[in-house]
């Protein structure tokens, strides 16, 4: 059993009571709400005549269903409009702060939480969205929950949970040029598998993680859930404090300094004990790309697609099944390189890679190498929030993207899950900075996704084929 980790300390601080069956009632200090998983939850509490317990600790936005162009109300899609109206009505009725379409702070919930300074170290954060793990970048326990649990948090401010084990994932050394946080997390999931994290919280540590900026740490923690973990986190440090200072919802002046000292005390102790420790060498990680239908089915960009094992153990048979299913769906041949495969769509955005540093890096590469979107490729930049969008525009990034043949949109989840009009068509192959390459994920039941870093997406969009970003030069 883990001991003296940040996870243990924060869990302890938020334990309301322990139940005989082995579960703990955990207080949720920040509840983030969006339009897709909340309407039924609000109905559930209404049916019971309950109110929102901590409305001042509850914040909402509209992100999943919002169009990224033509956002005039009522929205063209009547179902989307209905969901938005439900959210607006529910927030108003319960006194919840809402950043809806038209608000300067609207954006993807996991982008705006940190950006507005709502996310602090040492919090327990919950949201009806699996990518809540993003907020772990600050040293918070950040949990994705379902709708019944959303109702629980609304009405009681609490969740009933079994304490997971804690696995430390150490990434040592340093990363090579052209390798990003996205490649690191894809490499981790590749190594541990998509179910490797079941029953665990992941603590990311080691020199590679320590030298990451906050936005890179968010990309890393964001995909913890794709590795099966309940959440992922990084211990807070000076980088964390510097990121948070002066943000809208952090304490100001002297109170901030007091809070910072408290936050830094929460880090895992030197004598902390973990249920498991895994180590990866930073130098060995290359730009990663998925080739199949789970985020664990990935190779380094220059690698060959896997061969299908012919015989062996039951486990090998299952692997063979997963490999052949993935290859068949994607239309790829076993053992062949992925590099050189033609693509039709490029997407930069999502809670994984829709932050300002992602857009800056993409624009830097475009400008430096005079890149233009290849003929026949549809390329989309969707900022993660309206703040990211305005920041990008203030630096002229929108003009760089548009001149290079990209569309520059308004903020939302967009083509990560395609609940809005941004969708793949037919069998289109999309290089995407998002987090899931599941069958049909990007809106076409037969559409195909290759997950990668923003830099790699830019490289592929510019050549029209799968390309090693390192061949562009720095």
């Amino acid at each position: 059993m883990s001991k003296n980790t940040l996870f243990d300390k924060v869990w302890g601080l938020h334990t309301v009571r322990s139940l005989p069956g082995g579960q703990d009632q955990i207080l949720v200090g920040l509840h983030l709400v969006h339009e897709v998983t909340s309407p039924q939850a609000f109905s559930m509490i209404k049916e019971r005549g309950l109110r929102v317990r901590f409305p001042h600790r509850t914040f909402a936005t509209a992100d999943h269903i919002v169009p990224t162009i033509n956002r005039n109300r009522p929205l063209a899609d009547p179902l989307a409009e209905e969901m938005l109206q439900h959210l607006e009505r529910n927030c108003k009725e319960h006194g919840i702060t809402l950043f809806s379409i038209g608000n300067d702070n609207q954006g993807v919930i996991h982008i705006i939480g940190p950006e507005l300074g709502l996310t602090h170290p040492g919090m327990v954060i919950a949201c009806g969205d699996s990518h809540t793990s993003t907020h772990g970048a600050f040293g918070a326990i950040a949990l994705g929950i379902g709708t019944t649990q959303v109702a629980n948090v609304l009405a009681t401010g609490c969740l009933l949970l079994e304490k997971p084990k804690v696995r430390q994932i150490k990434v040592t050394g340093k990363l090579a040029d052209g390798v990003t946080a996205k490649d690191v997390i894809l490499a981790i999931i590749n190594r541990l598998g998509v179910k490797g994290g079941i029953g665990y919280a992941y603590e990311y540590a080691g020199s590679v993680i320590e030298s990451m900026d906050m936005e890179a740490r968010m990309t890393l923690c964001n995909m913890s859930i794709e590795g099966g973990a309940q959440c992922g986190y990084v211990n807070p440090d000076a980088e964390t404090i510097n990121y948070l200072r002066f943000r809208k919802y952090v304490p100001q002046e002297a109170v901030f300094d007091t809070a910072s000292m408290y936050w830094l005390k929460l880090v895992s102790e030197k004598d902390a004990e973990y249920d498991d420790v895994v180590e990866l060498r930073g130098e060995e990680i290359e730009p990663m790309m998925t080739w199949g239908i789970t985020p664990g089915q990935s190779i380094s960009v220059n690698g060959n697609l896997p061969l299908i094992p012919k015989w062996g153990t039951k486990e090998a048979e299952e692997d063979a099944g997963a490999i052949s299913q993935g290859l068949e769906y994607m239309g790829f041949a076993a053992g062949k390189p992925l590099i050189g495969t033609p693509i039709q769509v490029a997407f930069i955005g999502s809670c994984t890679n829709g932050r300002i540093s992602d857009l800056q890096e993409a624009a830097r590469l475009i400008q430096k190498h005079q890149l233009h979107v290849a003929p026949g490729v549809r390329a989309l930049v969707v900022p993660g929030s309206e703040n990211v969008r305005r920041w990008a525009m203030s630096e002229g990034l929108d003009k760089i993207f548009i001149k290079a043949g990209w569309e520059f949109r308004e903020a939302g989840c967009s083509m990560c899950l395609a609940m809005n009009p941004d969708k793949l068509q037919g069998r289109e192959l999309c290089v995407s900075t998002s987090n899931r390459n599941f069958k049909g994920r990007q809106g076409s039941p037969t559409g195909r996704t290759i997950l990668m870093s923003p830099a790699s997406v830019v490289a592929c969009a510019s050549t029209g084929i799968i390309t090693d970003v390192r061949t562009l030069g720095n």
Binding site: T37, D129, G146, T156, A259, A418, R436
Partner: protein, 201 residues
Amino acid sequence: MNSKIIKVSGGAFHLPGNDIDTDRIIPARFLKCVTFDGLGEHVFEDDRAQLKGSHSFDNTKNKGCTILIAGNNFGCGSSREHAVAALQCWGIKAIVAKSFAEIFHGNAAGNGLVCVTVGDYDHQLLLTVLEQPQPDEWMIDLQSMTIQTSIAGKPRSPIECSMPESDRERLIAGTWDTMATLLEAGGQIEETAARLPYMAH
């Protein structure tokens, strides 16, 4: 108080494959709704369309079955509770898998959808039973934590299955509605909040 769930009986069928994600169980376009009503007809909609009638959920033999046999990491991906709702609307009352993704498991537990796990060997045994020409109804007994099967009236040795003890207790006692349990803490909730400086802001 919910209904007590002590036993689940009914026909069983197999959905092959591991890592069946919730996008596949209920594609995102069906999440544009403000209630969970009517999701049952869209369960696995895109997978079913691609298999043109040969998907497990389209097999007429499986109609009316209540027990689903799945592989590893069932329900991974998105937190959408719509996945649990869609399966329940279709008629699924229990899932036997090698493992479940955590959020799906939590969603199921809070809605009285029974999720039990079995090891590789027992999983294979269960599949062998399903392959027989006349498998009878199965029974999952949460008191003895066993799956009882028989073929043409001849009972086979019960197979042990597991689930977290707290979930099991709650299903049997009919207290799987987590809201009621959480509300019992009453003022302890505010006391805990008062100890956390950030809760005041």
